[in-house]
């Protein structure tokens, strides 16, 4: 297995009035291809900050970040855009579905920005994977929260990313709908996708094979755990 993501003494500070907030404080981290990592910790401990830096959405103040052999800290805007487009898939707590686009069109949205082909069949395949084959022509309004998040997952996969990042993917869902999402993530992991989820949900954290605990911007605990599978 190869190192897909490495963080070296990464610091991220925010200014809040006069105060400096150390959102990340000298984080060293290596994640390998195919890992399923859960990032947990109390509110404000820096989980989202970590995920945003790994997703090349945000830049570290100091330290070095390498993703898929690319030194993120050295990339310009264009390089970062390509990295996000080609290597990373994002799923957020909010689904960010375009209300005027059908499920299928939403799934295909990222292809408008990349060299990927606009292939409806590919979108339908992904929608079928997340159990929404029948819903391809529906607008987000006509979908439940869980279905919307599954569309968002299909969309995150359309560009065949190496890494799937999810920040509280089940934060807006009831336990039944959350369960479906867990199942999806399990499957994707089984297929070899590298997954990093930030979550407050113990149930979701248990699905991962590795659990990183953040406290005040530092990794306080990092352990490999047996995956809990619901048959």
């Amino acid at each position: 297995m190869s190192d897909l993501i490495t963080l070296n003494k990464v610091n991220k500070t925010y200014r809040r009035g006069r105060e400096q907030v150390h959102a990340l404080d000298g984080v060293d981290l290596t994640i390998q291809q195919g890992e399923f990592v859960a990032v947990v910790g109390p509110s404000g401990s820096g989980k989202s900050t970590l995920l945003n830096i790994v997703g090349a959405m945000d830049q570290a103040n100091t330290g070095k970040v390498t993703i898929a052999n690319q030194d993120v800290t050295a990339l310009n805007e264009k390089g970062l855009t390509h990295l996000r487009a080609d290597t990373i898939g994002f799923v957020f707590q909010q689904f960010f579905l375009q209300p005027t686009l059908t499920a299928r069109e939403n799934v295909l949205l990222p292809t408008l920005f990349t060299r990927q082909k606009y292939l409806e069949s590919r979108a339908d395949e992904l929608l079928a994977r997340v159990g929404l084959a029948e819903r391809a022509d529906h607008l987000p309004d006509e979908l439940s929260g869980g279905e919307m998040q599954r569309v968002a997952i299909a969309r995150a996969l359309i560009n065949q990313p190496k890494i799937l990042l999810a920040d509280e993917p089940t934060g807006n869902l009831d336990s039944h709908n959350a369960e479906a999402i867990y199942g999806q993530l399990d499957e994707l992991h089984d297929e070899g996708l590298t997954i990093i989820v930030v979550t407050h949900s113990e149930e979701l954290a248990l699905r991962a094979e590795r659990r990183i605990h953040l406290l005040d911007g530092r990794i306080s605990d990092d352990k490999t755990q047996g995956k809990t599978r619901v048959a």
Binding site: S48, N52, G55, A56, M57, D58, E77, K78, T81, H82, R84, A85, D86, G89, F90, F92, F96, Q98, P99, T100, L101, E105, L108, L109, P110, L112, F113, T114, Y118, R155, A156, N159, D167
Partner: protein, 385 residues
């Protein structure tokens, strides 16, 4: 689906707001279309009218020829009169086809409205070859011919009598000139002798309208007429120039109104699109996460304004054409001197220019909101609200 359809669908998300600013663009484009059409249409109509009217020059005692032209064209009195004996002298000159004497008088009615009388001889008809008269030409000394608009205002028909208290005279309408679209529509035409009697100007004329047998003899004839005592000649070109300068101020005023309309709708579009950009910053941030470059976001917003303005432009041009006759009528009434004939005609070039202008404005209007949107960072997606 492509970026353009994405922009289109974004516009559909805010239907009311989109339609309102589209209406603004449509109104501005319709105004632009009308003004552009008017600018070319007016000159064309004027030239046509001048070409149609047999008048090549006018002779009067007014020293300032432009003053004379202006008065003769849109009514009014010249306080100095030409001796009627000049009329046969001019008529008898070689090279003259028609020399028609006229006596122009205005009468202020009780309501303060001025009515214009033209005392004209029978040969005046030669100067108005395009007149269509319902009824007859003068049938006797007490007959009168009304312009179409005059007849409408007076609510009179051929055969009716009209009484003018100001001069205590009554006439019988022998004919009504069908609408020409020109100033003639508002005039009252009397036989020349009758007019001279009624206005107590026996042996006097306001002007002589002259048509030449051969236009090439223009300068010669003009010089000859001016050798007559107290006679000055105003040429057709001078008259046209005078009309143009009279119209110039109206054109300037309309252009000013148009500029205001254009600026207002332009700002309206910027405002609409900027508002939606602010509302969508989070979504644009998300699009940045899934691989959109600042250029992609810029184009999405630019297409939005372009589509909005293009649609507004097309609607505006259609409305401009649909209401061309209304606008035409309005302009004819508004202008100090309006030649007969339509100003606003179907001209594909002007239609294309108007729509193109709207599209261009759309591109310009898209720049500020587009840049604002393009600056959205991926972090915008996860920013706390």
């Amino acid at each position: 689906m492509n970026l353009l359809t994405l922009s289109l669908k974004n516009l559909q998300r805010r239907k009311l707001r989109t339609s309102l600013s589209m209406a603004g663009v449509a109104i501005a484009t319709a105004a632009l279309f009308s003004l552009l059409s008017f600018n070319t249409g007016f000159d064309r109509a004027l030239q046509e009218e001048m070409a149609n009217s047999g008048i090549h020059m006018m002779a009067s005692t007014e020293g300032c020829p432009l003053e004379a032209a202006s008065l003769a064209l849109h009514g009014g009195e010249i306080p100095k009169f030409l001796d009627a004996r000049r009329l046969p002298e001019i008529s008898d000159m070689p090279g003259i086809r028609t020399a028609a004497g006229m006596l122009i008088f205005s009468l202020i009615e009780d309501e303060g409205k001025a009515i214009f009388f033209y005392g004209v001889g029978d040969n005046y008809r030669d100067l108005k070859p395009h007149w269509k008269i319902r009824g007859d030409w003068f049938t006797g000394p007490d007959s009168i011919i009304l312009g179409a608009e005059a007849a409408r205002v007076e609510k009179r028909e051929v055969g009716d009598k009209v009484y003018f208290p100001g001069i205590d005279a009554e006439f019988t309408i022998s004919g009504i000139v069908e609408r020409t679209g020109s100033e003639d529509d508002g005039f009252f035409f009397l036989p020349l002798d009758t007019a001279q009697k009624v206005f107590k100007k026996q042996g006097k004329l306001t002007a002589v309208g002259i048509s030449l047998a051969n236009v090439e003899e223009f300068e010669q004839v003009k010089g000859k007429i001016e050798t007559l005592p107290d006679v000055y000649v105003v040429t057709k070109d001078q008259i046209m120039q005078q009309i143009s300068s009279l119209t110039g101020s109206s054109k300037t005023l309309m252009a000013a109104v148009l500029v205001v309309a254009l600026v207002v709708s332009f700002l309206g579009v910027i405002n609409t699109v900027l508002m939606s950009v602010f509302e969508m910053l989070r979504e644009f941030g998300y699009m940045r996460c899934i691989g959109a470059s600042p250029g992609h976001i810029f184009r999405i917003v630019l297409f939005e304004t372009l589509l909005l303005c293009l649609a507004g432009g097309v609607i505006g041009a259609i409305f401009g054409m649909a209401f061309a006759s209304v606008t035409d009528q309005w302009l004819h009434n508004l202008l100090p001197y309006a030649p007969a004939g339509r100003f606003i005609l179907f001209d594909p070039l002007i239609i294309a220019a108007s729509i193109l202008f709207a599209a261009l404005a759309g591109v310009l209007a898209g720049i500020i909101p587009g840049l604002k949107a393009a600056h959205a960072s991926p972090m915008e997606a996860v920013r706390n609200v």
